[in-house]
Symmetry: C2
Subunit: 345 residues, 2 copies
């Protein structure tokens, strides 16, 4: 049993542990609460000797304004929220990192909500998160357009990340997945590959649809396409890799880097050499894939920019100033060691 919550011997005999509020400081400094408030915020001018008294009293009492009370009085919390579909996905790590950083520079804090891919709860979570703060960065790639649209008014101000929403009422940051796929195709076809596999992500995923559509419309003439249901995680790639050997493809396009990494691993276990026998391509360019063996050819999505760009738009929205235009990030093909000429056979 812990005794940590027991009170030690009382040290302050007098004030019976009165919570240290602005009123207490005011009394101690013999001024009004208004004056204490002014000193703490430094906006208005107050007489130097009074200010000193206040500061000293605050110091001695260990006073600090209550953020909650300030939030209520000011009508703003100094917090923004970000909702992600799966905190476990490394993709979000960079976004969160940079978003926290950017927001922090303006003295805003970040609340993170994780819907855990639970589409039922997502709308409520978003609303709740939003209500707790001043703005929202929403990443909900699986939410139906219609639902998102009717949700929008209750989420504003917010910025939308990593998904399309035609006629979006909110600033939107997207990634041109189609362009990325086209780059990959050009690359692989140039290497002589004519029969490709696509390891599909979750079929609720908008970005998976975008990839798939581009692939399907391109397939047929120059190359054959085999679609394999897979998923979005390491383990999915790892376990799907066995199927690859049977279907006679020379190159694999994975839904994302995690999957590609799993494939790489499994192929190695199977003794299939990459890229000599099989080329593998990822998507996202999350940090560590340049260190895989061989380093993964992938499409680099500028994840690092997503955070700051989202922040600057949200910041503009909250101040009601002009918002920068939407941007659709053009991914960049990163050719590394996991792709090579198609085996002659």
């Amino acid at each position: 049993m812990s005794n940590r919550s027991l009170n030690g011997p009382r040290e302050d005999p007098a004030p019976a542990n009165e919570p240290v509020t602005i009123g207490l400081v005011a009394r101690a400094a013999n001024v009004s609460r208004a004056t204490v408030s002014r000193v703490m915020n430094g906006n208005t001018k107050v007489a130097p000797h009074l200010a000193d008294r206040v500061r000293q009293a605050a110091q001695e009492l260990g006073y600090e304004p209550s953020p909650v009370a300030r939030s209520l009085a000011l009508g703003r919390t100094g917090i923004v929220a970000m909702l992600v579909p799966d905190l476990g996905n490394p993709m979000f790590q960079g976004i969160l990192h940079r978003l926290t950083e950017a927001a922090g520079d303006q003295n805003y804090r970040l609340l993170v909500a994780d819907s855990n891919e639970n589409l039922q709860e997502e709308p409520l979570l978003a609303i709740e998160a939003r209500r707790r703060c001043d703005g929202l960065v929403l990443c909900a790639p699986r939410m139906p357009d219609e639902q998102l649209r009717e949700l929008a008014p209750r989420l504003s101000p917010f910025v939308l990340i990593n998904r399309e929403l035609p006629e979006s009422p909110a600033p939107t940051l997207t990634i041109d997945f189609s362009a990325g796929i086209r780059d990959i195709l050009t690359h692989l076809l140039g290497l002589g590959h004519r029969r490709l596999a696509y390891l599909a992500g979750p079929d609720t995923s908008a970005s998976n649809h975008a990839r798939l559509e581009t692939l399907r419309t391109s397939a047929g003439k120059e190359f054959d396409l085999v679609e394999l249901p897979c998923g979005a995680a390491f383990a999915d790639g790892h376990s799907v890799a066995d199927q690859l050997v049977d279907i006679d493809v020379t190159a694999v396009i994975a839904y994302n880097d995690l999957v590609a990494f799993g494939v790489l691993s499994r192929l190695h276990e199977l003794g299939i050499s990459v890229p000599a026998q099989m080329s593998v391509v990822g998507f996202d360019d999350i940090e560590f894939v340049r260190y895989t063996t061989p380093p993964l050819t992938t499409v680099s999505v500028p994840l690092d920019q997503l955070g700051p760009q989202a922040w600057s738009r949200l910041w503009a929205l909250m101040r009601e100033v002009t918002v920068e235009p939407d941007v659709r990030f053009r991914p960049r093909l990163e050719v590394r060691g996991s792709t090579g000429p198609a085996p002659r056979d």
Copy 2:
């Protein structure tokens, strides 16, 4: 320029866009605000027909209680914070993920603060984060004992993660780094390695000290130890690997998995075969290292448990009930493919 912030044609002609508060609902339902409050919270009994009127009014007006106002009135926010030294480190991803999940089950949200390894700001950040919510999970492995100790009263209730603090006033979850190192040594010595390198992490890192100390006290009799300053990131491992070839070691112990991964990658580039020519060991067992080539031998730290365990303690603290005892997690050696018998030479 975006026209998103312009108001569309006013749709509600009557109530001049009055903010929808509890008072509005009360008027609409023709009851007192107290009654609305009671209905919304469902604690007290109110007459069914009144309750219905209230619910309907709330529904129509789109009313939802303000979390900020509730927080002020109730004296609790329903938020907990976690402070991490570097959100970019994958190690925290799992912790955050699970912590968010566990807290969410109790309807608590998570605020995340990232000190970005800035030791100056860290105390203020911790205090600020804590004040915004009901409790704190603190991960500050570089903060001096003394400072943390004097900070403690202002952070309470909080739980301490991933560091030691003798006589800690807060519940503490630590990892037995020494034991992990000892396991690694036993493993490597058993494989015949007699000359090892340690790639040191940041020298402000408490966990680095723990590892180092164990290594140093063990070294000398059975094996030689070469310490190489390195760091905590992929890139650090990658760039330090070149030095390994010159110092004639047969095995490397990396500060963490990231570093080990970087080493693996560089060794492969250099044509040095792992484990035939060099064994490599990591630390942490972050998710993807089982997929490296070869899969990384590492010490598995039960990161997944850190989040939930931290939460349950914080939860207990906040409710002022008995707190579970501290736990020092015993890491488990995961022997995979990156270690093997020392080369005969």
